[in-house]
């Protein structure tokens, strides 16, 4: 079943609604970062990845690593929407005895392919998965979502080098390039420019796309899938807080929870944009 771009956008809107609800209910979490990669994650789970929600440990499944683990409301919501677990867990984000930890935990949440949260490490784990697929002659692909601030971690570049050495064309990194991080914009905190040039020089295939345009995102994943002999990085230009006007491109909404009034406004805006 292939969804149209419009249907994907509808799912992404539903995802954003869950994100806002979850963070508001938990009174804790990272709204800006979660909304930023919502369209990318929607396309992965509704279009791109070969998965079976009724069998989360299926050996042939494509893997997804949310290396920027603080954006996990996005991942949890899409997993619930795809049926990996009951929707009512979403209201227990970050709560004691719950299955949805503050950062993704593969041992607690069905569908989480690896534990993440400490930044920089997901791409290396993804390289390991990609190498395992090759050893076992399996066709599954591994997708790793990184934040742009995360590119400041040295281990990311260790992973870049090793993926290129082993020609892991079954590995796709997605960089959620909203140019903001907790303390400010990337350029103020620690410039990551020119990201494309840097990654190209590590011998990866690099694609730039609009991280909120369903058609462009799908085209990019297709190009990555067809790329042979080297791993692909998709630099997805995104807007932090996308979908909620007062959060968009605002550094202050990295890890801040909306108050009641702000919450109601966010819900109204998301409803309006769904029509």
């Amino acid at each position: 079943m292939t969804l149209t771009n419009k249907e994907l956008a509808k799912s992404a809107n539903e995802l954003r609604n869950h994100i806002v609800d979850m963070i508001y209910t938990a009174n804790s979490g990272h709204p800006g970062s979660s909304l930023s990669n919502a369209d990318l994650v929607t396309v992965l789970y509704y279009d791109e990845m070969n998965i079976d929600p009724s069998n989360p440990k299926w050996k042939e499944r494509d893997r997804f690593l949310l290396s920027k683990g603080h954006a996990c409301p996005t991942l949890y919501a899409v997993l619930a929407m795809r049926g990996y677990f009951e929707m009512d867990h979403l209201s227990k984000l970050r709560k004691i005895d719950g299955i949805l930890q503050g950062h993704p935990d593969m041992k607690k949440t069905p569908g989480v392919d690896y534990t993440t949260g400490s930044l920089g490490n997901g791409l290396s784990i993804g390289v390991g998965m990609a190498l395992a697929a090759r050893l076992d002659k399996k066709a599954f692909r591994t997708y790793v979502m990184l934040g742009c601030g995360e590119m400041q971690e040295g281990i990311v570049w260790e992973a870049m080098m090793s993926a290129a050495k082993y020609n892991t064309d079954n590995l796709c990194a997605i960089i959620d390039y909203n140019q903001l991080q907790l303390d400010g914009n990337n350029d103020q905190v620690m410039p990551v420019k020119s990201l494309k040039g840097k990654i190209l020089s590590f011998n990866w295939h690099v694609i730039s796309c609009d991280g909120h345009d369903m058609s462009d995102i799908r085209r990019s994943f297709a190009e990555a899938r067809n790329m042979k002999g080297r791993p692909t990085a998709i630099i997805a230009n995104t807007i932090k807080g996308k979908g909620v006007s007062y959060m968009e491109n605002k550094v202050g909404w990295h890890g801040v929870v909306p108050n009641e009034e702000e919450y109601e406004q966010a819900k109204r805006e998301l409803e309006a944009s769904n029509e």
């Binding site: 050996k59 690896y114 290396s124 390289v127 190498l131 281990i155 992973a159």
Partner: protein
């Protein structure tokens, strides 16, 4: 016919390489990661035989740990080779958060434990690693005494489910075991019974403990000697059984006295059957370059220092 001859001097990393190469034949899921020191750690012995399952990731130990974690999540059994300082400190968070926390089936088997890289100096002498690893939940922590035990431990590691830290030596240590003994993680070995004091040692210093016990016997002092190769989980029953009736206990480890074997034994004793004790090891100080033997002597970690500690401990009673 024993694989190694008792009394022969062999670095335990040699037995690691030999055992890996054997395991590679037996288990197709076994993979080895290396960080550019394969000729030193001996992982190259596996790499030469199974190049497609040998990943030399260069000088990048954090990446090495996470790649191992990813491989393990897909059913592989990764053995990770590097030096102990890098495995436990450079890549500490990767080991803790991405191997131990998800209980990944990764075997970290670093060489250059304790003062065994002697002349390399403190930058390459891992003297805090066992203590660091011991505080991490889900982690099993072991240092075999000789080549025979190392060979058995590496074979056992492949069958063991969960994260494991298995520390090896750069320099040669004498073979003390024959092939007949049974090795199991978490089960200490009583090498000698005694009545007055107990010496609990592990790793390369088991040899020194045995020497000390022989010298003490000549003086008419009867001491028990335990090889406590696994400091976590610690064989508490064995500690209690052989310490509760003694007047003095000495722990011996090629490590800081804080956090490792001495601390683990002290914790068990104070909670169960307090016995006066002395911890032999580095006394909260960094060592220096020098030969392994010279360092053991200077930092009071050789047989003579153990012997003195037992005598003084018994006299004070």
């Amino acid at each position: 016919m024993n694989r190694y001859t008792i009394g022969e001097n062999i670095p335990t990393r040699m037995a690691y390489g030999a055992a890996l190469a054997e395991l590679g034949k037996e288990n197709e899921n076994l993979v080895v990661l290396e960080a550019d020191i394969g000729k030193s750690t001996q992982s190259i012995v596996f790499g030469d035989k199974f190049p497609e399952r040998y990943f030399n990731v260069g000088i990048a130990e954090q990446n090495e740990m996470c790649i191992a974690a990813g491989l393990a999540s897909c059913g592989k059994i990764p053995f990770v080779s590097t030096y102990a300082v890098f495995a436990s400190m450079r890549a500490c968070e990767q080991v803790r958060t991405f191997i131990a926390y998800p209980n990944a089936n990764v075997k970290i088997c670093p060489s250059h434990g304790g003062l065994t890289p002697g002349n390399d100096g403190p930058t390459h002498q891992a003297t805090e690693d066992l203590g660091i690893m011991r505080t991490i939940p889900n982690m099993t922590v072991c240092m075999p005494a000789d080549a025979t035990m190392t060979y058995k431990a590496v074979k056992a590691a492949a069958e063991f489910d969960g994260p494991l830290y298995l520390r090896l030596t750069r320099d040669a240590v004498p073979v003390i075991y024959d092939d007949q003994f049974e090795f199991e993680f978490g089960q200490g070995i009583l090498l000698r019974t005694g009545t007055e004091a107990a010496i609990i040692a592990n790793g390369d210093l088991v040899t020194q403990a045995i020497k000390a016990s022989e010298a003490l016997e000549e003086r008419g002092i009867s001491v028990a000697v335990i090889d406590m190769h696994t400091i976590k989980p610690l064989d508490k029953e064995l500690v209690i059984e052989h310490c509760m009736d003694k007047r003095f206990v000495v722990t011996v480890e090629d490590h800081q006295i804080n956090g490792g074997l001495g601390s683990a034994v002290a914790e068990v004793l104070v909670e169960n059957c307090p016995v006066p004790m002395k911890r032999i090891g580095l006394q909260d100080t960094f060592a220096e370059s020098g030969s392994y033997t010279e360092l053991l002597k200077k930092y009071n970690m050789d047989a003579r220092a153990i012997e003195d500690a037992v005598i003084r401990g018994l006299e004070n009673k």
